[in-house]
Symmetry: D2
């Protein structure tokens, strides 16, 4: 894993002009926004949930999209979505999301002249939402041809997929795919006559896995893989260790902005949101144990402490443990507090952190949820025994009832609370999408030899660039180094500003 940071010579690395951090202009542009933008200037992210009320998803149409004949208004049928007629509603969702993703829109504008992705043939596999649509259409605006599938059988917003299809993107995806549908969609993206991808954008590694398995020869033309998820990155490192990685890969998951913003800041808010929406509980005075004090755990702990909860932490890593101590949390083993806590939250990325033994000892009414990784942290399987009764009390909320009447409140059946029971702010999705776009541009344009068949982190300068694109949202004014100061610090005035090992 240690190779990740080493091979890049970031000082030698030059970003094109349009990619310079802008110290002065940003503000000017931003200030103009309120008065300038036209009719569609929307505000906060409403795409995700508003969908429920306004879209006609629960249509009576039970035909599988694979069995339908659909054409978009330009006559193309190179796509497979639920219902192409939903395109207009989907377009509105995308337009709303565009307002919330100023960084990606700025990128479109700045890089449009250069078309840095001209010639790129990108095959992508991600959640299909309004925000990804903005990303996909940005890639198009920068010159790329895209074919796209969903990385999850449930997460596609059908009307957004329809809008993409209407706009000429070859999208194969709908909500409620079967396992077979899932792989069929991926295959339809890759296996096309007269078109071969030269870039991969993956979220979870399934697309990469499929090409490895079915079309290994494609990698000859592929310039690189951009991968977002923990799981996908893990697979890439394993391939790399085994010497089987045949193209450079960019680990977007561990970029600074992703780690700190998506995990720390986003979870600080979504833990409260997820708990409130599911249980309406009051946080003040509640005793909570948070398992794991990584970025996610730090976010959860900070939020709950601020709301007046009493928070205990468990950790396996002595450094994170010492941080928890200094941040004012008692570091305990789970079984020391399991009888007394009102809430148990897992954020470890580990498995079986909360065991049946722990669950047996919890007090009546204890809430158990997972903010960590997939659905392994709580041993939910161990609760599927005959002596326990499950009672669904509302969407995503189960009561598991012991023979003596004790009830444990399980949220989202142990799956990720923040994905299942709260929404992800568009702002965070914007950071991730911008990072993905830049990673694609970098890998596609990198001179021969800059990247080998290895897993890389995004060059720091690009990470900084992503951050700078998001500052105007906060009316934040960056200070520019004077020549004298830059020299004193031995830095380029445009960054990168920190050594690679800097921890933020």
């Amino acid at each position: 894993m240690e190779r990740t940071e080493s091979t890049q010579d970031t000082t030698a690395f030059n970003m094109p002009d349009w990619m310079q951090i802008q110290f002065a202009d940003q503000k000017r542009e931003f200030n103009k926004r309120p008065t300038k933008i036209g009719r569609r200037s929307l505000s906060r992210s409403i795409s995700q949930s508003s969908t429920d009320s306004y879209s006609s998803d629960s249509s009576d149409d039970e035909t599988s999209p694979r069995d339908k004949q659909q054409k978009n208004s330009k006559g193309s049928s190179d796509f497979c979505v639920k219902n192409i007629k939903q395109a207009e509603f989907g377009r509105r969702e995308i337009e709303i999301a565009e307002q919330e993703m100023p960084a990606l829109m700025a990128l479109r504008k700045r890089a449009q002249g250069e078309k840095p992705l001209a010639g790129a043939k990108i095959v992508g596999c991600t959640h299909i939402t309004a925000q990804t649509a903005v990303l996909i259409e940005t890639l198009g605006a920068l010159g790329a041809q895209c074919r796209w599938a969903a990385c999850n059988i449930y997460s596609t917003l059908n009307e957004v997929a329809a809008a993409l299809a209407e706009n000429g993107v070859a999208v194969f995806s709908w909500k409620g795919e079967s396992e077979d549908d899932f792989w069929w969609c991926i295959d339809r993206c890759v296996n096309v006559e007269g078109w071969q991808p030269n870039m991969i954008l993956d979220d979870g590694g399934d697309l990469t896995h499929w090409i490895y398995k079915k079309y290994p020869n494609m990698f000859k033309k592929i310039k690189g893989i951009v991968e977002e998820s923990v799981t996908g990155v893990h697979r890439l490192y394993q391939l790399s260790k085994a010497g089987k990685l045949c193209v450079p890969a960019m680990n977007v998951n561990d970029s600074v902005t992703k780690q700190k913003f998506d995990n720390l800041y986003c979870c600080r808010e979504s833990i409260l949101d997820g708990l409130k929406r599911t249980t309406d509980m009051m946080f003040g005075g509640k005793q909570v144990v948070v398992c794991g004090y990584g970025e996610v755990g730090k976010g959860c702990c900070a939020a709950l402490k601020a709301m007046g909860s009493i928070v205990y932490v468990t950790e396996i890593d002595p450094i994170c443990a010492l941080q928890a101590c200094m941040d004012g949390f008692r570091l305990v083993k789970l079984n020391e507090v399991i009888r007394q806590v009102d809430i148990v939250i897992t954020c470890t990325g580990n498995k079986n952190v909360v065991t049946r033994e722990h669950l047996d000892r919890m007090k009546n009414g204890c809430i158990v949820c997972n903010m960590g990784h997939s659905n392994t942290e709580i041993d939910v399987a161990s609760l599927r025994t005959p002596e326990l009764t499950w009672e669904r009390v509302r969407s995503q909320v189960d009561h598991v009832i012991w023979p003596d009447g004790k009830r444990m409140v399980l949220l989202a059946e142990g799956r990720l609370l923040n994905l299942s029971c709260s929404t992800v702010p568009t702002f965070v999705l914007s950071i991730t999408a911008t990072t993905q776009a830049l990673a694609l541009i970098e890998l596609y344009n990198a001179p021969e030899g800059r990247y080998k068949q290895d897993v890389y982190l995004l060059p720091k300068k690009m990470d900084e660039y992503v951050a700078s694109l998001h500052l105007p949202t906060f009316d934040a004014h960056l200070t520019e180094l004077s020549d004298e100061q830059a020299k004193y610090l031995g830095l380029n005035k445009n960054g990168p500003f920190k050594p690679n090992y800097y921890r933020y």
Copy 2:
């Protein structure tokens, strides 16, 4: 207003044995809870929203309840609810609420022997929810006969009303009453042959107003009024000033526990909840102005600051203003920051705090909401002009669009965000309900002369008792004064522990 605290001689005031603060026993009882409680031991408040999914409210039945003939299983028809058949589901909701209101249940148990409300004939007018049902049935368990109407035409949970009716309470209330229905229901509670109320429990003052207007003679037999709302209390003080208050009244709204817990602690949580549920926005980095730094404003500011927002405060009162300064908020006039903020929150109890002029100057996407009092704080009426377009983007969320395309996001049309867009934790409702029950007991049992025709605050000792009943929820262990210490401080070991003017 100054008479409020003056007439009570709290040291002379003796509470019955069952009302003593328990230092030792509480813990024992509490520790037994987890293992002891039976099958229905539920956890967090799920009554309010779970209702939506499970109840069959949106029934096809369009007949007005006033035109229906309904009988409960015991043959009584002295009630008027939407559908008596929903009683079973409503009972389940009430049972769930009982689990969340341990203080009221403890009160039932402790006072049941004495029946301190034996002979009480209480007419009530409140929201009709599972939590009020627990209160009403507690009053019954303590010996009272109750007749009940709703204080709001929308807020009745029909199945809860049905369960109360089935259980013999004379309840007149349904969701979606007309104005005429509203007064008809109240009248049906009061105007009964052979039954005349001797106690009033009111929320908003409408019931009191009705009796004043229609049946002034009833006050001869009424021992007192217990009023919860700001508005109702205000009316009572005006009556008192005008010399027209003809019975003692208890101002429950200004009791310590109500003020600090309902306003400060509850709003600290509900501001986040309300904003998230309606807008999915991210709090970090947002600029917010909070108008008013009373308890509600303090709660909103603390929560948003903790989530990483930058908060400005406006105030008219120099003392609250200085508190805002010391708590780390810039004190500004609204027009100083109106152009730059992302969110405007009103918590003043005043009117026209946010004017059309302010609204015109806000930036694109600014969110405006009210946490204060009724719907007067934001001048919403001023936005109903032809040049502005209103667009409902989701439930409780409107975009108001200026001719230049600027959008302002208005939540709950300027009504209370925390009532409209978030839920109130049962714990807070428990505090209020317990206070109401004790106020009724006190007024009903007070010896001749303790209370005159004036407005009173709950005796501090009872306020302390309410608080003590809620400590076991937090496994909190109160320290008891030694005899020597009590003597040193000049206090009774069972309280009251503070002078009346103490501010907490």
Copy 3:
């Protein structure tokens, strides 16, 4: 005690023009300050400790001031101080303090025309510091004649006393008085031929006590007492209860600004300061128990929690206890945590809160200190037994050593940590001094009958006025009610803005 708030009719109460809250002018004045002020415009409070380095206090002069013949430059010898020659240095200290007390200086300026204390003969007994000197000279500027003694035998700053004497104030006070000196000084203030006080400003009640005992007839001419301390106020209420209070008294201690600012905000800072200066300890991760959750306890808890300590709270009052819970502190009995905590802090106002039994069970290195009241809270006397060794390790820090080697770290021998081991910010002293001045003005000018022989709180309008005088320091801009709003709220636009029972 309940009479305190009752008799005032604040709405009828009219403040003179110069005492109106200024909404607009304040800002202008403040903004001019930086450039306008002259040479001596100093910044932060440096009087207290800078004294140590620059004054020649530890002079070789061992003669008692009572045996010296001293004259000021105008030839007067109606004073008794350590050394009149230190006047110049003292004057510089006073000038520095003036810069930090803008409210008092503003009062001087605004009220100077009216001389609201013309004819007042004030006898005072307080700590003699630069800040009190600013108060005393303000009283003089407003028309009063003052005679002054110290309320504490150690706290006098000799050079400040000298400066006052040089400026014509009849001051009798020096650092290191004997008990006999103490009463002699007080007597010299009161017992003068041809001068009889008509106002008393007391801090601790000793002056009041002396007059009661020795010169009861003086009360015939005395218009009122202003008392600042808890102890002094307690004595006054006892006199009042016993029917022995023969003049109106103003309880300055319980005014809002005093309670919230002096106790909550000041202690929030001084607990950290006191602990750091004495022990250099790190707060992060430390386990702390705070006894008492009144304003002082709230301040201590908030500060330590913010610095990463884990804080437990003990309480006797269920309401404060419930607040501690909602603020995120575990409520325990002292003996539940005494073995594990690193720091014990008392803030109760009670006695023997920490007993020898507790002290015996503390762990090695535990720090024990008192932020509460006098020196009764920790049973220090119980540690004066032969088996325990005391070792003074630095000023105000003792190690008490058990036979097994365990060391307990006792700060300030159990006296007030914030007085002994940290400094009080001038800002807080400014609030108190301004309140005292206004209380004197009010009592002196009140029409016959407004105040009876009872103990009163400062009228709220004056409390608000004190606060308003301190807002410019923070560049804080108060919002003014519109006529329409004032009418809607039933308030006068200049206050008072809250009912008397409002808790802030």
Copy 4:
């Protein structure tokens, strides 16, 4: 700089048995501590300031130590200190420090059998304090021979140096060395007949520099350099880049524990301490600008925000800037707020961050201080002009007075506030000293080829070990991975637990 993390293969790296993280035993040992420890078991760090009161430093002896003939009790004269007779008092200071450095004492105990430094000849150049003495004597206990000089001409505690000399350490150092003395002392450590160092422990790089310059041949025998300071590390990287580094060097400054604990957590406390001790100011409501949002800036901002200050941040790095936004601080350029702030704090590591132009525009009474790096951040030199008057008002506090009377309060003449005006908690020093000891052990025992002529970070496993040694202080209980979990995560149960690029 990128090479730093790359060459280590931490998974292959094996730590000796005594260096395993202990999951179970720690607790047991810790619990025994309170009762077991003997007479000298002291508590909080009192060494540094207590010194002032008890030591006889300001002795009349003006003879230079270089001109004195001194022998310790064993007859050795291979040292040069102020006064060998102060050894006993110094020993007491060291013993107190030992109580505060349990990790180093545990290391002594665990590694004493193996003597991992047997044969090591360490030359050191650090501050000479009680805490370094504990480090030096620990190195001795592990088998090393040490010769030591001071890295700063002022910072030596003479009695500690005496105690070291008495104990046989060849120490050359006293408080108040001249520049010539400074290099003479270093030379006496290095230039000895019959003794040649094989390890260097440096703080600032002066010792390393001296050997490079005078005795380059020595590097043939030297196995490595351990360097703590930013400056020293910077020099090493420059040597490395220039290809002139001739031995492996360990960058202790950038180890996780050092960065996060020394910078973030320690500065969070010392900014408050430093400001209070120098100015007695109140933090509540003050407007502060913090320049730089690295670890130090983050600590300062968090502390001041928690105390009720309003904090603005300046940054040059967009990532740190975005963090500041998400943490709730307005990101500004310095000149946007310079007129309005009460305090300016620099934490950039840069130079001329606060210029004369900024200083000219500050408001009267503004406090300016530096928490960053050396004394370059504030352009203090620009204030040495004739029209400005400097007035020293107390130790470390200067008023700089403009012709119009405006005063600016400069702390520590722009040098580091936390070093000059507050104390560093022993706990933090303990972390650093333990890290240094482990770095020496690692470099000394590393097999041929593990380290090349390059600059390295401490292997993560050792960083984790240092952290684990400090957990017992907080009664913190680490969770151990089960075999199954370790396998699932692909981790060794004893660590390292994170990839090298993990940011904490």
